[in-house]
């Protein structure tokens, strides 16, 4: 697994630098997570995952965490007489459900904007595709900004500045926070090493966020092929509880 990830990471960095072969002791960047599986159990209130790693010398680190992508609809309210109701709506395709950036220094201090945009590092660079061309560009920007703002408000998007701790220019660590409302799926944690405005090395570590335990079983039951029986069971349970309570209280 580790070797595979390392290969992946080197492949990702290949266009920029093609020198190191796997198993060479002096790799520029290694990183890993304290936990590769976040379990959403019945008592889940959010969790932190520690990302740690080492470099072979000075440089800046940027970490990007991307959640599974899905479509998002942003609606804007308008006034209809005395009432505020949803008026316009824009659908964005394949938006990351979760997005978080951490870096050792503010991004623009060590990387050119072009490079950040092409790699989608930074909340403002996240690609949000929209097929509807009817809205003017500035309107679109307003919707785009609203999406980022709402996601940030839900603790699902975040751009942390200087929240990677570096030790003696070689070791680094950061806490990645996943709130209680975190979407489930496969996450990609991308770690970039920047030197002189270039990506020197990169590594990708996957992270699985999944519902575990009784809550997951209820969810699967309710969303699976036997949804009807889930409903039936819920109704019978409710009817039984109501009947039992009245039977008990009649005797008291």
């Amino acid at each position: 697994m580790r070797a595979l990830l390392l290969c992946l990471a080197l492949l990702a960095a290949a266009p920029l630098q093609a020198q190191d072969a796997p198993r060479v002791p002096d790799v520029p960047l290694v990183a890993d997570l304290s936990n590769h599986l976040v379990a959403i159990t019945t008592g889940f209130t959010g969790t932190n995952v520690l990302l740690f790693g080492a470099t072979n010398g000075p440089g800046d680190i940027a970490v990007v965490v991307r959640g599974p992508t899905k479509d998002e609809i942003v609606r804007r309210k308008g006034r209809f007489g005395p009432i505020w109701a949803n008026a316009a709506a824009v659908r964005f395709h394949d938006v990351p459900s979760y997005y978080r950036v951490a870096s050792s220094r503010p991004l623009e201090e060590f990387a050119p904007q072009m490079l950040l945009s092409s790699r989608q590092i930074g909340v403002d660079t996240v690609r949000m595709i929209n097929v509807d061309e009817s809205l003017p560009a500035e309107e679109m920007t307003a919707f785009r900004k609203a999406l980022v703002r709402l996601k940030t408000g839900n603790n699902l998007y975040d751009q942390g500045i200087s929240d990677i701790t570096m030790m003696s220019n070689r070791l680094f660590r950061t806490e990645l926070h996943f709130p209680a409302n975190v979407p489930t799926g496969t996450y990609m944690v991308e770690v970039y090493l920047f030197r002189e405005g270039q990506i020197t090395s990169a590594e990708i570590v996957p992270l699985i966020i999944s519902k575990i335990g009784i809550g997951a079983e209820i969810y699967d039951f309710a969303h699976g092929r036997f949804a009807f029986f889930y409903g039936l069971l819920s109704v019978l349970l409710a009817a039984g509880a109501g009947w039992a309570a009245s039977a008990v209280f009649r005797r008291v």
Partner: protein, 308 residues
Amino acid sequence: MQIYLPIAEMTVNIFLILGLGGAVGLLSGLFGVGGGFLMTPLLIFIGVPPAVAVGTQSAQTVASSVSGMLAHMRRGNVDLMMGAVLTGGGFAGSAFGVWLFNELKYAGHIDLTISLGYVIFLGVVGGFMMAESLPGVLKRRPVTLALAARGPGRHMWMHGLPFKMRFRRSKLYVSAIVPLAIGALVGLLVAMMGVGGGFLMVPAMIYLLGMPTQVVIGTSLFQITFVTAGTALLQATVNQSVDAVLALLLLLTGVIGAQIGARLSAKIKGEHLRVMLAVIVLGVAIRLALDLVIPPSEIFSLGGEDGS
């Protein structure tokens, strides 16, 4: 202590949910109402998605009405024929309601529809209750509703309708269209707003159908039990919006609260009770109305994350 609700997909404080269940259960026992009209908006207030609040509340209503229905059946206070016709209409209305709910959800108007529905119904019900019971508390003659003065059997247009049926227990010979329509309207409310609909059905049965009062409550409970059960089943199958964990937590304290409330109601003066309930109902209505009218601080919202 926090608990993760698997269908609502959110974490809530378990004591908040237990407290809500107990408080609404107490009120429903105290006033003899279903409580759905309070529980659904309260669940939405605390952040439960509207679809899940409505779907879960239907299952909840089954629990609170089933024991009442059984008690009335034992005493023979249920007109089974009338109940069956009302339930038939109810299923049709609720199926339409579930479909309409989804259409409005995709169009982005479901929150507004639910809020508006509640503002209208709670406003009307609370207003009537206040008008009826406040004079009594203030030691004056209560205002009788205009409807009550008319009495049963005055609706001549109604007797011109076809498909007449005989309802032995109610001693009625009326067109099946009227109870079907009443049932359908109630079913629509169950599916869209998560209420039992008793507050609408009971007056309609008395004043519109002219049913004898002793069978009204039992027959309406019969319809509510089956229609909410059918709706919960439909919501669970079509929308996956019934949260069994949430329903169970609400039930746990809800049934106890209802029993305590029923015992307390014997000790508190009827008029004071009704004014208290009217104040609560109007309070919820005003809160919801304000949310619709006050300019929102954030005019954008995320909605309908479904891939469809």
